[in-house]
Symmetry: C2
Subunit: 166 residues, 2 copies
Amino acid sequence: MDDGPVQIREVAPADLELICRHREEMFRDAGSDERTLVRMTRHFREWLEPRLNDGSYSGFILSVGEQPVAGIGLMLIDWPPHPLHPEQSQRGYILNLFVEPEHRRRGLAVRLMRLAEAEFVRRGVRYEVLHATDKGRPLYRKLGWDSTAEMAKMTRGGGLPDSGHC
Amino acid sequence: MDDGPVQIREVAPADLELICRHREEMFRDAGSDERTLVRMTRHFREWLEPRLNDGSYSGFILSVGEQPVAGIGLMLIDWPPHPLHPEQSQRGYILNLFVEPEHRRRGLAVRLMRLAEAEFVRRGVRYEVLHATDKGRPLYRKLGWDSTAEMAKMTRGGGLPDSGHC
């Protein structure tokens, strides 16, 4: 589907529900179950609202003819200075990359990733991270991203995971 | 070397230099160069001091006969609710696990990991993460940790990495 030029804008507080939907669809695509998604979105909305308002969650929305068709989110996360960023105590984090199914395979995800990366360069961020779904990984590799040595565990109180560690 | 019983205590603000040294030795072991380590430690000390004072960085020190021989650090990191922790907006993070070379191979790293994991259970944290060095990975696997899908990239302004993504 290609019905007009793609408009780019920054996310705004009014995008709260749109971003919640993008995050939910992204994890649904990756195999999360509906019950978990409902619980997550309820809490994610509460988490997101103040961060959208104060700008600590930012990002971009792509639209075609007024209709939002894709989005990406950015945060800075507090991180101890590390050999990969010895003089910085933050990492850029990219999340909630989602493209509506009927708008895939026309490069929108790459455009969003380039916007996000350029934004981190603009902010002087040295090191950026994300968590890939299986579907997204080949794209990130093409853009120069590498796997890290992160490991994770559900705590003994935490129960079984509902989906993979993405 | 086994010269007495092992004492356990929580980290305290007076451990600032000890923790800086543990972090530096850990990354030296993993192959970081000296120039990078000096820069990192200078900034890490500044980052750590207020967090040790307010308790947002915590952890444990093992000592033998008054002599600290191993340590581990813990933080809570702000994280959007996720299918693996749908009702929590934080992840436990374990860092700076270090055992003095002459005290290795007597189970101190496992003791520290169990203390850290128990502390996160006590705090009700559902999901915990760490970054493994190649040396540490087999131990974490034995303790039930799995690799995640994290990916990373130096930004275009960031220059070349000095060591692997650990």
